[in-house]
Amino acid sequence: VETPDAELVQRAQAGEAAAFDVLVNRYYALALRYAWRQLGNREDAEEVVQDAFVRAYRSVRGCHEPARFRGWLFTILINRCRTHAGRNRRRFLLFERWREREQPASSSAPQTLRLDGDQEVARALASLSPRLREAFLLKYIEEMSYEEMAQATGVGVSALKMRVKRATDALAAQLKKELHV
């Protein structure tokens, strides 16, 4: 029988590091899935997931609702993904400015996401803005309720519903265009 999250969190809060190891093993793959889909490549996702787990461990005593550890972990993970994406975007814009100045002839279509994995899926997700992608992934891939999403993202329920709707419409249009439907 699997030990409940709440018990493991409480044991970690009491100083039992091995209890947190079990939580890492339990949620690593799910956290990696979200970060990979959100950031577009595995390498960045692994880095962000590690960072999120270390931050979660450091502040595990601040997890006031141990039974909803997953939601609490995702709050941290979502924030780390946002920070990482913002940093990548700034780096990309800096590089683009330099490239335009130094090598104006070699311009190519801008792409802030480095993609790997299933290219078709990755391309479809990359066509969304980070906000829409985040809302779509939390709703349909992580299967969170809108209340859980609101708690994890700090965004209101009605705004999240709008983002999910826009994301699904945009994805449908993008995929149909690719499939020539």
Binding site: A12, V24, A29, R33, R37, V49, V54, S59, T168, A172
Partner: protein, 177 residues
């Protein structure tokens, strides 16, 4: 989900597949956790009863200590955030060298003078300095203990005119960031 377009439903099915964790990456997470410790949320409180003379002595000591901290913080802040210079972009340079006694930053901006821009030592042997630079291509190196020249391991390497290892940074206009 039934109200979704079939192409989006198919996409969701594909996106839901859970990736197989890389054992090496998972080991690294556990190793990183071994280095971390949960922060304490509750701090114990102690009541200290002092005689008037001792209280005065403690007060003086406290004033002295906080003054030192403020001066240190001011100097440190001045190093990290030098006064803005019109048309220049503040750029932070970081170099890790735990054993070094002193490190200088040299480059086009200070005529490669090892005495011009000293770096400040931070925790864990991390040396740093912030320099306001003109936008454009800047070549630079780190000089450890006034002797050994190092290129920046985190930046593109270039061939310096004097045959010494050096690196390149491209500085943008401040307002573009």
């Amino acid at each position: 989900m039934s109200e979704l377009d079939s192409v989006v439903r198919d996409l969701i099915v594909r996106l839901k597949s859970v990736p197989e964790p890389d054992p090496r990456a998972l080991r690294e997470v556990h190793a990183a956790l071994r280095q971390a410790r949960p922060a304490r949320l509750v701090e114990t409180r102690r009541v200290l009863i002092l005689s008037p003379i001792r209280a005065l002595a403690w007060a003086l000591l406290l004033v002295l200590a906080t003054s030192t901290v403020w001066v240190f913080a001011w100097q440190s802040e001045a190093n990290r955030n030098p006064a803005p210079v019109a048309g220049r972009t503040p750029v932070q340079f970081v170099f890790v060298a735990e054993q070094a006694q002193r490190i200088s930053l040299v480059g086009d901006f200070n005529d490669w003078d090892p005495t011009a821009t000293r770096m400040t030592r931070g925790a864990g042997g991390v040396w740093y300095v912030v320099v306001p630079l003109q936008p454009g291509r800047i070549a630079y190196s780190f000089v450890v203990d006034d002797k050994v020249w190092h290129a920046d391991p985190e930046a593109a390497v270039t061939t310096h005119d004097f045959g010494r290892p050096s690196s390149v940074v491209y500085v943008a206009q401040t307002e573009s960031l």
